[in-house]
């Protein structure tokens, strides 16, 4: 292959990427830039159930275990310096600043994101989306919009639950098991966690991740090649692309928030 061909290939994939971004943007715009109707709310609530409630057990259990593991590993290191009381801030800040939003987003991509892609892909391949179109109902509004909003609302809530449960997991290991004074655990923790720096940033991160993960999942489903192979490919792509996007964006946001 000549050099010119390679340059042309690069150009082609660049153009395809930009066209893809454009299509994804148009899809989202078509879905959310509408005045909501009364019955959109019940569609939204139903999707909150599918996307949010059904992810809750996973998030709760993962949060508990991650908090406990963090505390156990942290304790083993900190006890060497005789500063095991600093376990509280270590667990809380790791969870609030990074693990809460990031791990929740990754789990969400695997649990809810892939399910969204598969569901919409299946709707497309069984012509349910075309059928809505022919019934003069906009599938963007009927199918995409409620799922998008449900994702955007659910993920931050799940991240908060994950973080709170994780901190209590750390408390269980640190205080109940390893015998750190409960008072100093909380006092040092509370002294080092700051409302704006940590909690607001945690929320901002998880909202950004929510938009990105849900968007990718919906777009992958909407653009699926309508056959079983296409759906399974799209589901994998959703998990891979949204995980990478979350990790890259996390670095970017962390640099913006804590990099100074």
């Amino acid at each position: 292959m000549s050099l010119l061909d390679k340059v042309a290939n690069l150009g082609r994939s660049g153009i395809e990427l930009i066209m893809g971004l454009g299509r994804a943007g148009l899809m989202l715009w078509g879905a959310i830039a509408r005045k909501p109707r009364a019955k959109d709310f019940s569609l939204f609530v139903k999707q909150l159930y599918v996307v949010g409630v059904q992810s809750m057990v996973l998030i709760f259990v993962s949060g508990l275990f991650i908090g406990m593991v963090l505390a156990l590993q942290g304790y083993n290191i900190l006890v060497g310096f005789g500063t095991e009381e600093s376990l509280g801030p270590m667990v809380a800040l790791s969870l609030l600043r990074e693990l809460g939003p990031v791990v929740t987003a990754l789990l969400f991509a695997g649990r809810a994101g892939s399910a969204l892609t598969a569901e919409i892909g299946l709707m497309k391949s069984t012509e349910q989306l075309s059928s809505l179109e022919m019934m003069a109902i906009d599938p963007l509004r009927q199918i995409i919009a409620p799922r998008f909003w449900a994702g955007v609302v659910s993920l931050p809530l799940l991240a908060l639950i994950f973080t709170a449960v994780g901190i209590y997991g750390g408390h269980i290991v640190g205080v109940e098991w390893k015998g750190i004074d409960s008072g100093s655990f909380w006092s040092i923790l509370q002294a080092s966690v700051e409302w704006r720096q940590d909690i607001v940033n945690c929320l901002i991160k998880s909202i950004v991740f929510a938009v990105v993960v849900t968007w990718i999942a919906l777009y992958r489903g909407y653009q699926v090649i309508p056959n079983p192979e296409g759906i399974s490919k799209a589901t994998t792509q959703t998990v891979v692309q949204s995980s990478l996007a979350v990790l890259a964006l996390d670095f970017l946001l962390t640099a913006l928030m804590f990099g100074r």
């Binding site: 159930y49 409630v53 009381e85 908060l160 008072g183 100093s184």
Partner: protein, 156 residues
């Protein structure tokens, strides 16, 4: 189209999300709103509080009897003033008691050690709003090392 079960579970989901948020705000970031009536307040001035923090414990012989509730700077004397929230259960400390800032372990967290003073007929007990005058400031490790190095080198 929505069943009652779905509505209920979604409601629970949102509630637990909000509950987690409130726990994080009030319990973890400790944005204060509560006033605890089972406490009484004492004040103490130090020349240096070192690494003492709000909610650091106040201990008598290792038993936690209260917590630091506020740290401010005296505007006139420019020294730190520490406000203590003492547990009502422990209200038998005489006025002659002394406070020192101690460290748990070599690099551990700092806390307030309360040493009860002697009791005599004309010595009253500490009550709400009283000030403890006899205070010992924190040992600052860097200063100690500096002094040690200085005295070691001046001997030569």
């Amino acid at each position: 189209m929505l069943t009652r079960k779905i509505e209920l579970l979604v409601g629970l989901f949102i509630l637990s999300g909000l509950a987690a948020f409130l726990v994080l705000v009030f319990n973890v970031a400790n944005v204060e709103v509560k006033s605890n009536s089972s406490n009484y307040t004492l004040y103490a001035k130090f020349s240096n509080i070192g690494g003492l923090k709000v909610r650091s414990p106040v201990k008598v012989g290792g038993v936690v009897v209260g917590r630091v509730s506020e740290i401010t700077l005296d505007p006139a004397e420019l020294v730190p003033v520490v406000k203590l929230a003492m547990d009502k259960q422990f209200n038998q400390f005489p006025e002659t008691s002394s406070l020192s800032i101690l460290t748990s372990g070599l690099l551990g967290e700092q806390f307030l050690g309360l040493t009860p003073g002697f009791i005599d007929d004309d010595i009253a007990m500490l009550v709400d709003g009283d000030r403890i005058d006899d205070t010992h400031s924190a040992l600052v490790l860097e200063e100690l090392i500096g002094q040690f190095l200085y005295s070691a080198s001046s001997k030569d």
